[in-house]
């Protein structure tokens, strides 16, 4: 039985009453305004995605109908099937693309989580010469995304002879500042007393890291994983890998979709299916991990 602050038992009936009480300082007009704004902008945010999903299931005659419809009338799986037929007829097999994708994503993410959590543990739980400065660097580099750094990055990878290998994508993913940042911030919420008492009991740093801290930061690990997967999925590194057998599924699909400026009209349906496949993966990952991601983001604040 739960007891409230005054010492009274919280019965089922009382809990219902407590919940029914409106939050203080809330006007009905304000609530209506909030719903209005959210519905209005929600429609704006959802519209292109709804359009994309519907397009993927439209038969060709509905895609080219005039005036165009938002919603599909006779849904068909034809476009998705066509996409897979095109992919299966390519001289590089579908399973090869899939293997490349899974390998790059798994290797990149696992390495990233291990390396970043190890470093984050050191910076979060101890203060040593250079630790503050290093974390400051991490925060600043959160702003520099790969579009700004692609040229020196290409030169470095070329020096390492990694261009056109898996490593050109996998190894840089290990060092992404975002995952390090989130893990460090979340580790800050693990009480230092846990670490200290383990130390008194004679545990080594490695034992404290692997047995005490890591199990407690699972939400952050999951979040860093989702962000890493999304990063690898959404950024087909076409500059870095150009051998067809080494390309990933997103890159292969992007090649089929083509550019909107040289539209492949005959494949309009396939394009729509390709866009659908491209967006389903990151969105469903987010849905699956949403509560853990929000738990992690709650500790993301930067103190200046």
């Amino acid at each position: 039985m739960q007891i409230d602050r005054q010492g009274y038992a919280i019965t089922k009936k009382r809990r219902r009453n407590l919940r029914a009480v409106r939050k203080p300082n809330r006007s009905l007009g304000g609530d209506i305004f909030i719903w209005f704004i959210l519905v209005l902008f929600g429609a704006f945010f959802a519209f292109p995605l709804v359009f994309a999903i519907n397009n993927a299931f439209k038969p060709l005659n509905e895609i080219f109908i005039f005036p165009p419809n938002l919603f599909v009338i006779n849904p068909t799986m034809g476009n998705v099937q066509d996409l897979f037929i095109i992919m299966s007829r390519s001289w590089v097999t579908f399973t090869r693309y899939l293997f490349n994708t899974v390998f790059i994503t798994v290797a990149g993410t696992v390495g990233h989580l291990f390396v970043a959590s190890l470093g984050a543990y050191a910076v979060s739980k101890y203060e040593f010469p250079g630790s503050k400065f290093f974390f400051g660097l991490i925060i600043t580099t959160l702003m520099f995304n790969q579009f700004v750094m692609q040229i020196p990055n290409f030169l470095i990878l070329a020096q390492l002879n990694w261009i056109d290998t898996y490593w050109a994508v996998v190894i840089p993913a290990f060092g992404m500042p975002m995952g390090f940042f989130l893990l460090k911030q979340f580790m800050d919420t693990v009480p230092i007393s846990l670490v200290e008492s383990a130390k008194i009991d004679g545990a080594s740093e490695w034992l404290i890291y692997s047995r005490i801290v890591m199990p407690l930061v699972k939400p952050a690990l999951l979040t860093a994983m989702i962000f890493a997967v999304q990063g690898l999925w959404n950024n087909p590194q076409s500059l870095l890998i150009h051998t067809e057998q080494l390309k990933t599924l997103p890159l292969a699909i992007t090649q089929i979709i083509g550019s909107p400026h040289a539209p492949n009209v005959a494949r309009a349906g396939v394009n729509a299916a390709g866009i659908l496949v491209m967006m389903v993966v990151p969105i469903s990952l987010f849905v699956g991990a949403q509560s853990n991601i929000l738990k992690t983001m709650a500790s993301s604040g930067i103190k200046e």
Partner: protein, 311 residues
């Protein structure tokens, strides 16, 4: 002992102390080492290299040749297209940065006021465009310039326009269209941080505020919510700066490369032009360096502003 000697001794003692500290924590340096090496190679080194190469002429085949500030002089004094790109990037950053940032916060705040069971769904609706990747290509269908385009067809049907508008090739409409698309897809990780931050503020603070005379939710926002979220606000700002200065992929895919009259040509597009097409790496590095400086400067400015909130 003279003052100088005292100073020297003090410094020596400090250095000895630092060295002792470093020795004491040598395991931790070992922990940090793997991440640091990769981070330094693929994130720090590119920034330093950009800075270094920006003072050279470098075409990848020959060794870089030092030419001082020549690249910067050329950029600002004789490259008209760079100035157009700079103007476009600043317009995009000044509009999509703050507007996107404020929208992200307001949406998060509104969503936090909703009943618990719809929050997860509404969060998904607003955040999905950020992670949907190639889905922004759908905007190309919506804004297609002929009468078959979704927007054109419906505006003609409603009688708003009589002939199709070239949304993505007419210089008059390109910038607003790009701004809309960028705003649509860049609520970003900051939005999630805001949602998470809002839900973790202690309820007792609001009760105390009520006693102290907070009258409505706007006062609650200014006096209680915002000051307790400064960390999240800073994180959101960093994310917004990243998204708003690095616009390039969207313009390239929707408006073409180069776009009509360079109307939405951004600094990132210019960088790709010189780096990946003309192989003038020194010049491209100068462009990247200018972007880095602009981003860091903006971050410092925003940080000063955020620390004043609620005072």
């Amino acid at each position: 002992m003279t003052a100088y000697e005292r100073y020297k001794a003090k410094k020596r003692a400090m250095r000895a102390h630092t060295w002792a500290e470093m020795k004491k924590h040598k395991v931790l340096y070992l922990f940090l080492l793997p991440f640091f090496l990769i981070f330094a190679t693929f994130t720090l080194a590119p920034v330093v290299m950009s800075l270094g190469l920006s003072f050279t002429y470098f075409n990848v085949l020959e060794t870089p040749r030092f030419i001082g500030f020549q690249n910067y002089f050329n950029l600002f004094l004789s490259d008209d297209i760079f100035l157009i790109a700079l103007r476009n990037t600043l317009i995009l950053a000044v509009i999509t940065g703050p507007v996107g940032y404020i929208c992200a916060f307001l949406f998060a705040w509104f969503i936090n006021e909703l009943p618990r069971f719809v929050r997860a769904f509404v969060t998904l609706v607003f955040y999905a465009p950020t992670i949907a990747g190639a889905a922004f290509l759908v905007w190309a269908l919506i804004f297609t310039g002929d009468a078959m385009g979704y927007l054109n067809a419906n505006l003609i049907r409603l009688g708003v326009i009589s002939k199709p508008v070239l949304w993505l090739t007419d210089t008059e409409y390109m910038m607003p269209v790009i701004i809309i698309v960028v705003l649509w897809m860049s609520l970003g990780a900051g939005f999630l941080a805001f949602i998470a931050g809002l839900s973790t503020i202690d309820e007792a603070l609001y009760e105390a505020g009520l006693v102290d005379g907070v009258k409505n939710r706007w006062q609650e926002l200014w006096f209680i919510t915002l000051p307790n979220m400064q960390g999240m606000l800073m994180f959101g700002a960093v994310m917004a700066i990243m998204a708003s200065f690095a616009v390039g992929e969207v313009t390239q895919n929707l408006a073409g490369f180069p776009s009509t009259d360079y109307a939405v040509h951004t600094v990132v597009n210019h960088l790709v032009d010189y780096g990946a097409i003309r192989f003038e790496m020194g010049y491209a590095s100068a462009i990247a360096t200018i972007l880095f400086i602009a981003m860091i400067y903006t971050k410092v400015l925003v940080g000063k502003f955020i620390s004043k909130i609620g005072r």
